[in-house]
């Protein structure tokens, strides 16, 4: 009897084992936390040097149209405008298309076809951005040249490439949000004599609105941050866009093509880091937007 008593009061190797496991997990956690903190620190630190070390004005950076950092002109407005333009235009093109496909997947298609479509979408997600850029260069740019003249490089080409790139993301997230709407909503509408389209348009799409918005913003996050594919078709001239077919530059394309040509610590280099900072801040904003929408949607 006392044997059992002693065993029950003994120290357990399991507790040590559990501790060791937990410590391993916490070590991994701290790595991720250190990582994000240092990313934020380094980019913010470098990105603000333009204003703190080189004493250039933030207003000039945000509203100026002349980008010539070698001569202390750091007007980033053309790039900011172009980045937003291609992002928004791509989202406008992708949204109806994505909603259509998502409705097909959740409302019309039999299970087998939905599965096949999911595979198609996964494949589209898997195609690397350089390949999109390459096809953009080979197919889209000549097409745009033929359609509206000019060089073919520019906002329209960038928009079309980004549209295809964000499409799979927007479709699959939209389909997820439609699927989350209970079947009873649809049945109720149909039972009241609504046509299938009425039930989809008036009930399902409305109820899924926060989810669809989130899907669009996810797509925009990706479009705004995409570098290489856009850089290959945008033309890379820091000029205010005058039309859909004139060469211009986005924040990412400018970073990609110029970072290697500048020396750390110079004004030209600092100005580029400021562009990176804008990118970082925008992805924070997109993230925040998604949070706000999800929270609002959840309350409803």
């Amino acid at each position: 009897m006392d044997d059992i008593k002693q065993k029950l009061l003994s120290k357990s190797k399991q507790t040590t084992e559990d501790w060791r496991g937990k410590i391993l997990c916490y070590a991994c956690l701290s790595l991720i936390i250190v990582l994000i903190v240092s990313i934020l620190y380094f980019i913010v630190n470098r990105g603000t040097a333009t204003f703190t070390q080189d004493h250039l004005s933030l207003t000039q950076f945000l509203t100026g149209k002349q980008w010539n950092p070698g001569h202390h002109q750091v007007g980033a407005l053309p790039m900011i405008v172009t980045s937003f333009l291609v992002t928004i235009l791509a989202a406008i093109l992708a949204t109806p298309f994505a909603i259509g496909v998502a409705i097909f997947m959740t409302e019309y298609a039999p299970r087998k076809e939905t599965k096949a479509l999911r595979a198609v979408i996964e494949l589209l997600v898997g195609i690397p951005s350089v390949v999109y850029g390459y096809i953009g260069l080979m197919v889209v740019v000549p097409l745009v040249r033929k359609l509206i003249g000019g060089t073919g490089f520019g906002i329209l080409a960038g928009t079309l490439v980004l549209f295809v790139m964000i499409l799979p993301t927007v479709i699959s997230l939209t389909a997820d949000s439609l699927k989350a709407i209970p079947v009873s909503y649809r049945q109720a509408a149909l039972a009241l004599g609504a046509t299938k389209w009425q039930s989809i348009y008036k009930i399902v799409l409305r109820a899924a609105l926060p989810g669809i918005l989130t899907a669009i913003i996810f797509g925009m996050t990706r479009a705004f941050g995409e570098a290489l594919a856009v850089q290959m078709v945008i033309g890379n001239a820091v000029l205010m866009p005058k039309g859909l077919g004139t060469p211009t530059a986005t924040l990412t394309s400018q970073l990609t093509s110029q970072m290697g040509n500048t020396v750390l610590g110079t004004v030209s280099n600092n100005a580029l880091w400021s562009l990176a900072l804008v990118l970082l801040l925008m992805s924070l904003v997109f993230n925040l937007l998604i949070r706000v929408i999800t929270r609002k949607g959840a309350i409803k």
């Binding site: 009897m1 059992i4 065993k7 029950l8 009061l9 003994s10 120290k11 357990s12 399991q14």
Partner: protein
């Protein structure tokens, strides 16, 4: 609203395997079980019955400290003269002595053999012939050996529901526990499988003290020696099974076993 006005808890004269003293369980601020004082007789089957939500499963899970980290348990659980509801207790060692079988069969996604040997190896049994012998003995004990002896490498999840549950019992008794806790072990099984599990329990009580939570009153009446009736988070009556089902001391018990509520 029902209220518990009287209770009857029988004192056990035969050897006692486990005793609780004023056991209470809280989920956050909510009291899920209160004032449980009861003795479980050694090498007997005790059934815990009562309507759903009466706290019987909560009570059972407290007995081998499976509620740690989920609920707060107050009061004493006395086992071999030790209060095991205590921070000093090595709960892993405790669970080797007080085994548990769950409501839904949960064999590991491993071979039948490994289902039995995994925990044994973990606890330091290295000798292959000892392990083989354990596999055979414990499967024999639940009358599963003849059905699976030629396919010990088959995945445990491939067995039928009843076989899976008996495998889970075999897995628990391979640890040679003192006490076996079963939480509605037959609730998902068909009548034939249920019967087999009950027969197994009758065999097992020669060696183990068995405490079984059941929803099924026929099961309690035909396979247990003692029965405790739980209601509203308390133990209302505890007595020999024959007494409970024929002439209970408390009116509420009588109403329950005769099907007037629950």
């Amino acid at each position: 609203m029902m209220e518990i006005t009287e209770k009857y808890i029988k004192k056990i004269e035969t050897p006692v395997a486990l005793r609780t003293q004023d056991l209470a369980v809280y989920y956050g601020d909510k009291k899920a079980f209160a004032e449980g004082t009861i003795e479980f007789p050694q090498h007997q089957i005790t059934a815990l019955i009562g309507p759903s939500g009466c706290g019987k499963s909560t009570f059972l899970r407290s007995l081998n400290r499976m509620n740690d980290g989920i609920a707060r348990v107050e009061g004493q659980i006395l086992y071999h003269g030790l209060d095991i509801n205590n921070d000093q207790i090595n709960i892993y060692e405790l669970r080797k002595h007080i085994g548990m079988v769950f409501q839904h069969p949960n064999p590991f996604y491993k071979s039948i053999r490994e289902n039995i040997t995994y925990a044994l190896k973990y606890h330091g049994v290295k000798n292959q012939s000892v392990l083989d012998q354990k596999v055979e003995e414990s499967l024999q004990a639940v009358a599963l050996w003849d059905e699976v002896k030629d396919s010990l490498d088959k995945n445990g999840k491939q067995l039928s529901g009843g076989q899976q549950q008996r495998l889970c019992i075999a897995r628990a008794i391979a640890m040679e526990p003192d006490i076996l806790l079963l939480d509605e072990p037959t609730s998902g099984l068909d009548p034939v499988s249920t019967r087999k599990v009950e027969d197994t329990l009758q065999e097992l009580k020669q060696k183990y003290t068995i405490i079984i939570v059941t929803h099924n009153m026929q099961q309690a009446s035909r396979s247990s020696d003692y029965t405790a009736f739980f209601n509203l988070g308390q133990i209302v009556e505890f007595d020999e099974t024959s007494q409970i089902f024929t002439a209970p001391h408390v009116q509420m018990t009588e109403d329950y076993v005769s099907g007037n509520f629950g």
